[in-house]
Amino acid sequence: MSAITKKIDLTVLGYAVLATLLFSFLFFTQVGNRHLYVFLIGIGLGVSLYHASFGFTGGWRNFIEHRISSSLRAQIIMLGLAVILFSFFIGSNSWIYDGKMIGAVAPVSVSVVVGSFMFGLAMQLAGGCGSGTLFTASSGNGKMAITLVFFMIGSLVGTYHFDFWKSLPSFGGVSLMNEFGKVNSVLLQLSVLTLLYYFIYKSDQKRNVNFKHSDIFDFSNFDLFKGPWPLILGAVLLVFFNVLMLQAAGHPWGITFAFGLWAAKIVQFLGVEVSSWSFWQLSYPSTALENSLFADPTTVSNLGIIFGALAASALAGNFFKASLINKKILIAAILGGFFMGYGARLSFGCNVGALFSGIASGSLHGWVWFLFAFIGSMIGVRFRRVFYS
């Protein structure tokens, strides 16, 4: 049955709409209008991620195993667009509030190398990355919901070991914009992305005779409400919403900090003194732990993604698509989720906070993350066969 003939799931759609209205009202009246904007941007991200099926894991795996490059090429275009647009805004005053916007610049360190490698390997086991786990779990995928739970646990354990990883060698944060200036930084990054695009499409063309550049621009089955959306539309919208996130929140889009925070709140509720851990004594994490979850912008945007993906899957008639979960797949989901969470804390983010927002902000750690996560994925694809055979 094609997506177009599937019925809209009115119960789930109604739930998503009501929850959106309720949280919009709550954020506007009890937290602030910028949180409302962040929430609405999150909804846009959730719908875009779902309808364009925009995930890093499958795209990387398709290239590693079959040299099929469509998703990877869309990601490269997304990064290029983001690099250009972010260069205009980082360090400038926001359109929305009175203050400067800051980039996602994090250290280049041993922990980033280890964490991103671990993340790349684990995401192939789990079958989803940070954003992928969130939007698929939200659209009723039971396996990814299990992955999300262990993602949170892994993130929390990562914060417990924070002191050790922080003690390893680090170059500190390296901003290419500061090192080379904005124009040179953009030219340098676009050159690398162009070379990558060239290498990727040549590899695809060599292996697959039906290769076409235009496959990511294919609007032939496009349906605005039910999907699917072409990859290029997903890429452009993710850049658009990340720019809006920068304008509204003052920093680029991130996902995984909230997972650790949610887990920390739960174990704190159960009586564990999380606040005594050094990570949770840092300035922002300690504030986030003491405050309402609804004050944390990463939580707010994640809630938006949850309701956005929920609504999109209901519109597509695909909510709670039954998936086979056997013992092996369950173990893969648990291991994948846990080590993605742990790796994300070590490497200062996931495919969104570190790779997408990091590279867009001209942070060298984003490139290091990309390289080592990809190497991890190459190994992860082999491990995956053990669980999904």
Partner: protein, 60 residues
């Protein structure tokens, strides 16, 4: 039935978030502060949620 259970579990999670909000409140709003607020001018560093891992560990 399964999707109702799924929505119920999601509702339970949201209820936990509501209870947390009710209990902790928004004593400090990271997106709403002025430069002369409680952080004594260091508000920009604390305002960065650092979904990346912690503002103390990297400089913006």
């Amino acid at each position: 039935m399964k999707r109702i259970v799924y929505l119920f579990v999601l509702s339970l999670c949201l209820t936990f978030a509501f209870l947390d909000h009710d209990s902790n409140g928004v004593a400090y709003n990271p997106l709403f502060h002025s430069h002369d607020d409680q952080t004594g001018g260091a508000s920009q560093s604390i305002s960065m949620p650092c979904g990346l891992g912690g503002s103390e560990n990297h400089k913006h």
